[in-house]
């Protein structure tokens, strides 16, 4: 046994001495080119698509693995990539490969031949807002026509029941804070102005009249999404902190983090009021990589939507909520596939698809 052990040991040791440098070279991107009888530096491209399992062709040759995949041993220079998936338009582009580097096409969105659009309301609305993480607030001037849509629970809830004393009121202004389940409605009821503080994630929503704290109409009302006690009423000359739970009001200064204004540009406005996921320019929708998980994607003429209304992109489900041309609440599934882990794709080489340049 001892001699056998020695022989096998030396064979394995020899194997290691040969394999180790070869594998390490391969790991570093060096590949033996038999035509030139030398090792050549190579690069790779990592492609993941949404949805996955798409077929990849590189320079017309079929890659053996489906997306997500890393295609190795590519000679430096431009390579033409085509991605195909049944039911989706082909994705084609020329990408540069650099020696020893990885070019990343992460979460490349494949555009379906037909967008799967669903109408989810049977009445029309004037505008929508997102409240909390998964609630779409669809509003109309008359309070009894305002609805809450719980997108994950697929549940529609009336904000005011028809029997409510506020049901016939008119909505004057809506105040909300990003990712807060609370909203503040300024309402005209008969000849009086009311301020209603509403917790939307309850069923039915909890409504509290806090009009006593608003002797005048404020220029704005803001609050922190994590604070369910204090709201700030901003007037031109001063700011008041209203303690909702203790029913008290104090002269205050506005906390720094509540000061930054929302950036609205001409002809190019933020959708999802405060959430920087989507920009809309005419009928072009840009999904922005706000949470680092998706690369820049453009969708042309996707939603024939009501002009000047909000859209809400729910990142968890990859669905875009908007009001269609008739004002009905609709949803389009933009991202059909959601990675299990929302781990940022490493900040590798980014390609500007339009300019075809490396960012």
């Amino acid at each position: 046994m001892l001699w056998l052990r020695k022989i096998v040991f030396y064979v394995f040791a020899l194997l290691y001495l040969v394999l180790c440098p070869l594998i390490v070279s391969r790991m570093l991107g060096f590949v033996f080119n038999p035509a030139e009888h030398r090792f050549q530096k190579t690069g790779l491209v990592y492609i993941s698509t949404n949805p996955p399992n798409a077929t990849v062709y590189i320079d017309g040759k079929l890659a053996h693995q489906k997306t997500p995949t890393a295609i190795h041993d590519l000679a430096p220079g431009d390579h033409f990539i085509r991605i195909e998936l049944n039911g989706y338009n082909d994705w084609e582009n020329t990408i540069p490969i650099i020696a020893k580097k990885a070019t990343v096409l992460a979460n490349t969105l494949l555009i379906p031949e037909q967008w799967p659009i669903n109408k989810i309301s049977i009445q029309n609305y004037k505008n929508i807002y997102n409240v909390d993480d998964d609630i779409v607030l669809a509003i109309n001037p008359l309070l009894k026509d305002i609805d809450l849509f719980h997108t994950t629970r697929k549940l529609k809830v009336k904000l005011f029941s028809p029997n409510s004393i506020y049901a016939q009121g008119q909505l004057v202004h809506l105040y909300k804070s990003f990712q807060s389940p609370y909203i503040l409605l300024q309402v005209a009821l008969k000849d009086t102005l009311k301020f209603l503080w509403i917790k939307t994630d309850e069923n039915p929503p909890l409504i509290e009249d806090i009009s006593d704290f608003f002797p005048r109409i404020p220029s704005d009302v803001v609050w922190n999404s994590g604070d369910n006690q204090n709201i700030y009423a901003i007037y031109p000359e001063n700011v008041f902190r209203i303690d909702i739970q203790n029913k008290a009001m104090f002269l205050a200064t506005l906390p720094e983090h509540l000061k930054s204004p929302i950036d609205n540009q001409k002809n190019r406005f933020l959708i999802n009021d405060g959430n920087d996921l989507i920009l809309r320019e005419g009928n072009i929708i840009r999904l922005y990589p706000s949470k680092q998980s998706f690369s820049l994607v453009e969708i042309y003429d996707l939603a024939k939507s009501q002009p000047q209304t909000n859209m809400y992109f729910e990142e968890r489900n990859g669905a875009l909520f908007y009001l269609d041309e008739s004002g009905f609440l609709s949803v389009v599934q933009i991202l059909p596939y959601h990675p299990m882990l929302n781990i940022p794709i490493p900040d590798a080489i980014r390609i500007d698809i339009q300019k075809k340049t490396i960012l």
Partner: protein
């Protein structure tokens, strides 16, 4: 070479060297682990290269070990039905027996054929040597069981196993090395067993080791040394030469197979250098293996497999747990160290240094079965297993002493000193680091990737190479699972095949076990040694239903 195999009573210069060498293993292990973490964060390319080189060496080692695990298992199977008594009686008439054996034919009994060929080779070597063995009727066995908290339920099955031996019982002497500080109930159990077995063997004596002896630590080595000295007196009084005695020092839960002493006698007889040898059986942990949680079963099967693999490499084999050796050698080296916990491996190194490297361990393909460390519930069992592994890993205490001896032992060839020294060092280093690198640290370069590294081909290639290597590792695990299912004892319950299938899935815990019950206790032991916080002897919990 005369050498004080101890860390105590050293001259100042020696004490400084000892302390330095105590720091080396722990420092190397921590240096390796923290160095890789540092490289992963700040020099990920270098870390990735080192990690891939390590992965490759690991898989080579795993595949290499798997080959010899399978061969060793076959060897164990081949010798399963060997009639050792017949062989030792034959050696008593060596010339005639050799002639008879040489002319013996085997048809399709390939197992017997291989066993016979090996037997013939051993007989040939014995004939060619000038060191002929004593007659088998003149060979005596001394068996020592150290006892401190093991009750009759643990000890009696071990003695019964000796009672069932194929070797004549009147040539076996049993000594119970009883600690004076053992509980009264334990002492009572031992005395009852003494009465019961007094006339069964050559003799059955109980030697009580005093609770406090100057110069001794509270370790097993001190207890068994006390017992061995008493037995030596007995043999001297009865004019039995030490050269004819083989001592077996067993843990109290050691249940030997019925062929153990015949097999041991055979190996003693056919080894020309029998007086400078230890004899290592294959330790199994079958006594209570179906009564312990799955993770403990996998841990101990892993220990058995490690010994099976080691058995194929006698040149580097070191004694482990229950084993046997020439009593003459034991007396020559002045018994076990009385201040060390790892007495089982320390006695080998003590003898190796004493005989200037002319001492070896002879593997025996016969099993001894012991208890898996077990306790009342899952958590306390995990604690017991952890402590037991830490105690095993405390074998690192031999490293500084052996290295000090090697620096002086000019009669031991430099190559042998380097070979043993490297194995001792590398063994402890990889024991404490491999599990962490494989399970955790190997992923750090990818985890800590910054822009430069994340945009490199290396970032994408490392996980792919690692996956390929781990897939190969899975093949080795599958082989291990199969062997494990063959080797496990039968359960006494219905649907035993279902239990065995469940056991196969228990091997999926290997990555966690590698960290929690292998690397972590080893690193813990090395760290303690590094900081001079010496381990106290801790008796493993044994529990049977």
């Amino acid at each position: 070479m005369k050498f004080n195999y101890s860390k105590e009573n050293l001259k100042p210069k020696e004490a400084k060297l000892q302390r330095f060498l105590e720091i080396v293993p722990g420092l190397s292990s921590w240096g390796t682990l923290l160095g890789l973490v540092f490289l992963s964060i700040f020099f990920p390319f270098t870390a990735a290269i080192l990690i891939v080189a390590f992965y490759l060496s690991w898989i080579m080692r795993v595949l290499y070990s798997t080959i010899f695990l399978v061969l060793s298992y076959f060897h164990l199977n081949i010798e399963k039905n060997t009639d050792w008594v017949k062989r030792i009686r034959g050696i008593d008439h060596l010339d005639q027996y050799f002639k008879d054996m040489s002319s013996k034919k085997f048809g399709r009994h390939w197992r017997q054929f291989i066993s016979h060929q090996k037997h013939l080779e051993q007989l040939r070597q014995l004939k060619e040597s000038t060191h002929l063995p004593p007659n088998s009727k003149d060979i005596y066995h001394l068996v020592i069981f150290p006892v401190i908290k093991e009750g009759r339920d643990i000890l009696e099955p071990a003695i019964e196993a000796i009672n069932r031996q194929s070797f004549p019982l009147k040539q076996i002497m049993v000594v119970i090395a009883l600690e004076e500080r053992a509980q009264a109930s334990v002492q009572g159990d031992v005395r009852e067993l003494e009465k019961k077995y007094k006339d069964t063997f050559l003799d059955f004596i109980v030697v009580v080791h005093p609770a406090v002896v100057p110069g001794e630590a509270r370790v097993k080595g001190a207890n068994v040394t006390c017992a061995a000295r008493a037995a030596a007196q007995f043999f001297e009084n009865n004019r039995i030469p030490f050269e004819n005695i083989i001592i077996s020092c067993f843990d109290a839960d050691t249940v030997v197979s019925h062929q153990y002493f015949s097999c041991l006698s055979y190996h003693f007889m056919v080894s020309p250098d029998r007086l400078r040898a230890s004899f290592q059986p294959i330790p199994m942990y079958h006594n209570n293996i179906w009564q312990v949680p799955g993770f403990a079963r996998v841990v101990e099967m892993g220990s058995s497999f490690y010994q099976l693999i080691e058995a194929t490499n006698p040149e580097k084999l070191v004694t482990f747990s229950s084993h046997s050796m020439s009593f003459k050698a034991l007396v020559d080296v002045d018994y076990w160290p009385v201040d060390m916990i790892s007495d089982d491996s320390a006695i080998f190194w003590k003898a190796y240094i004493h005989y200037d490297g002319k001492y070896k361990v002879i593997p025996m393909y016969v099993t001894v079965s012991m208890d898996v460390a077990a306790s009342d519930n899952w958590f306390t069992t995990a604690q017991s297993v952890y402590k037991q592994k830490q105690r095993w890993a405390w074998g690192v205490e031999n490293f500084p002493i052996v290295m000090r001896a090697f620096l002086k032992a000019k009669k031991i060839p430099i190559y042998e000193r380097l070979r043993h020294g490297f194995k001792l060092f590398e063994g402890h280093l990889s024991w404490a680091t491999s599990g962490f690198i494989l399970s955790l640290i190997g992923w750090l370069p990818v985890f800590f990737a910054r822009r430069e590294f994340a945009s490199s081909v290396v970032y994408y290639n490392v996980p792919e190479i690692a996956n390929t290597i781990f897939t190969l590792g899975f093949f080795a695990i599958c082989v291990t699972i199969m062997l494990s299912m063959f080797m496990l004892p039968k359960t006494r319950i219905r649907h035993r095949w279902l239990i065995k299938i469940a056991h196969a899935f228990e091997w999926l815990m290997v990555p966690a076990i590698l960290v929690l019950f292998s690397a972590l206790p080893a690193l813990h032991a090395q760290t303690r040694l590094m900081f001079g916080k010496y381990l106290e002897f801790w008796v493993t919990d044994k529990k049977r239903v």
